[in-house]
């Protein structure tokens, strides 16, 4: 069994990283690079989305091509709330999470009864259904998506400034990583990984395999919804493109590059991917080729991803 066990220096490293991130906006402003605060926020949001998928895929072993549906639902619910006058994030974000989580619960309840490639295809199908649903609803912007006229407030503080939103995203990600860390160590996390490794044995041992998987799937969906709500605020737009299967693919890529089944796999993957995009775009508009080759390389030669170089999975 290959359970995730963090390296000894992970906790101090994460702490140092957190401190650095807290100081980032001020630092960027001093350098006159305010634009990158928005970029950093985007990285945090995708790190959150990728981490939520990591829970489902890395720890739960479920290859879901439908995760974008929950990501997009969170964004749309946030936009709908703002349109309906609910401008307080402490109300809207939990609503987004609940909507995404419930959708994930429903999708999971049906999909998890299938196995292997059928599971992959059914999750894909559900994501497409969600996409068509949102795209066809004219009240929600149709093909153009739903705009937010302004950013929300968090406990009264406006998120209109890039720095404020950055901290909100950082808070969400930190909370998620703390939760994730506790889960991974707790019985739930261990059982989930054990199910991933050997489902038959766990069933024989009497574990409610379906329920564990479903909970992980729904929780992953809810967290993706939170990321979606944050993204809607950042870009000011909930677009149907967020729900497409290609978006699921992108999240999948982040998790793989970062390291499937490693606590920080999603975070590392998001950072690597988005920074790669930002740097490469300056050199060539065809940077997707580089990304594709990198991904191929990872799959063929380093299937455990970047984080594998730093963490350990013990047998």
């Amino acid at each position: 069994m290959a359970f995730y066990r963090p390296a000894a220096w992970q906790k101090p490293l994460s702490l140092a990283l957190l401190c650095a991130l807290l100081a980032l906006p001020t630092g960027l402003e001093a350098l006159g690079q305010e634009f990158y605060i928005g970029f950093a926020t985007r990285v945090l949001i995708f790190a959150l989305a990728a981490t939520s998928l990591n829970l489902v895929l890395g720890f739960g072993g479920m290859v879901s091509l439908g995760h974008a549906a929950f990501f997009g639902t969170g964004a749309y619910v946030a936009a709908i709330c703002e349109q309906a006058g609910i401008a307080e994030a402490l109300l809207a974000f939990p609503l987004a999470m609940a909507a995404a989580g419930l959708l994930a619960l429903a999708v999971g309840a049906i999909s998890l009864r299938t196995r292997g490639v059928y599971f992959i295809m059914i999750t894909l199908a559900f994501a497409q259904m969600a996409y068509y649903l949102f795209v066809s609803a004219r009240a929600w912007g149709g093909d153009d998506g739903l705009s937010l006229s302004r950013r929300m407030t968090l406990a009264g503080f406006s998120l209109a400034s890039d720095t404020a939103l950055f901290f909100a995203a950082l808070a969400a990600l930190t909370a998620t990583m703390l939760l994730f860390g506790r889960l991974a160590d707790a019985r739930f996390g261990r059982a989930l990984q054990a199910i991933r490794e050997n489902e038959t044995r766990m069933e024989a041992l009497g574990y409610p395999v379906f329920r564990y998987r479903l909970v992980a799937f729904a929780l992953g969906g809810a967290l993706a919804g939170l990321a979606g709500a944050l993204l809607a605020n950042q870009t000011g737009l909930a677009s149907p493109g967020l729900l497409q299967w290609t978006q699921s693919g992108t999240l999948l890529v982040m998790v793989i590059i970062g390291g499937v089944g490693y606590l920080y796999g999603g975070v590392v993957g998001a950072v690597v991917l988005l920074m790669l995009e930002e740097t490469l775009v300056g050199f060539t508009e065809h940077w997707h080729i580089v990304l594709g080759l990198l991904l191929l390389g990872v799959v063929l030669f380093a299937p455990r991803g970047v984080a594998a170089l730093f963490g350990k999975r013990h047998g």
Binding site: V63, W245, T246, I256, G292, L295, L296
Partner: protein
């Protein structure tokens, strides 16, 4: 009204048969090599580009079609030997990721070589007009597509059901290890299947090029439909691919055509026109879910 239905039915048939060209290759690769190939849509796109480029160079649609399909077959061969061979033994996730990477590379490479704007591909002059069917006109070119689709279906039936190679293919889909143990050169078989699938993709892309557009990303949307088809039809079954694609083609086309009319009784015009196609699309997935509920392995499972 019957004329309208007839015309829409022909449209559905045309769409379904083109889907079949894609689904046939996909189901074989999936069924025999147990390999999820998300880049199947990219083979369709690259095939279409090859045909368009060749047709422009030779100033002839038919030469372009032949040359393009041949080029795509060669590309398929290279891909199989260089990459896909390594993926057969890997888990589904690795296959998903590797082929997703291929999609990224293919889209960008096509953009690099031919530019971001779509390529023009015109049908042959003689087929650009309508043909009289009964008391209405139907585009000649679409009839030709239907003819191609039927021909390929017939060819595949003969190949798979009546030839020795087809027997190997069916055996490989049912039980790979046993087939190998019986001394069949499975490796060569796999390569042949993959190359054939790539050629079919290119044929579909080249035939549809004049109707749609040869552009970057044209494979992604049709790929999902192809997967839905093979799930409905049963992985590894050509017959299932044909039945599945005809069902999907007809449901999608008739749905897109009839639902807006039905909905217009209740909703305003533009709402009905958006909801109609959307519902028709969702209908296909509901259909897939429904079929899987009763027959979890699809309509014609090849594996016992």
């Amino acid at each position: 009204m019957t004329q309208l239905l007839l015309e829409q039915a022909l449209n559905g048939l045309q769409f379904g048969l083109m889907l079949f060209l894609l689904a046939a290759g996909l189901t074989l690769v999936f069924g025999i090599m147990d390999c999820i190939n998300l880049a199947h849509g990219s083979l369709y796109m690259v095939g279409a580009y090859f045909v368009a480029a060749a047709a422009q160079a030779a100033d002839s649609f038919w030469i372009g079609l032949g040359a393009g399909v041949a080029a795509a077959a060669v590309l398929g061969l290279l891909l199989e030997v260089a990459l896909f061979r390594r993926l057969y033994q890997r888990d589904h996730l690795s296959q998903v990721l590797a082929t997703f990477a291929l999609i990224l590379i293919a889209n960008e490479a096509v953009r690099l070589i031919w530019g971001p704007a779509p390529l023009m591909l015109n049908p042959p002059e003689s087929l650009a007009g309508p043909v009289e069917i009964g008391n209405f006109f139907y585009p000649a070119y679409r009839l030709v597509i239907i003819a191609f689709g039927v021909a390929v279906a017939a060819l595949l039936y003969l190949l798979v059901a009546k030839s020795r190679v087809g027997m190997w293919v069916r055996a490989g889909a049912a039980n790979r290890e046993m087939t190998e143990a019986l001394g069949i050169n499975v490796r060569a078989l796999f390569t042949a299947v993959f190359v054939f699938g790539a050629a079919l993709c290119a044929l579909a892309g080249g035939l549809l090029g004049p109707l749609l557009a040869v552009q970057v990303g044209m494979g992604e949307s049709v790929l999902i439909l192809a997967f839905v088809v093979i799930i409905i039809g049963g992985i590894g079954s050509i017959r299932g691919a044909l039945v599945g694609s005809l069902i999907v083609g007809t449901v999608d086309t008739l749905g897109r055509a009839l639902l807006p009319t039905l909905l217009r009784a209740i909703l305003p015009a533009d709402a009905a026109s958006t909801l109609g196609p959307a519902l028709a699309s969702i209908l296909i997935y509901l259909l897939m879910a429904g079929i899987l509920f009763f027959k979890p392995q699809g309509l014609f499972p090849s594996r016992a």
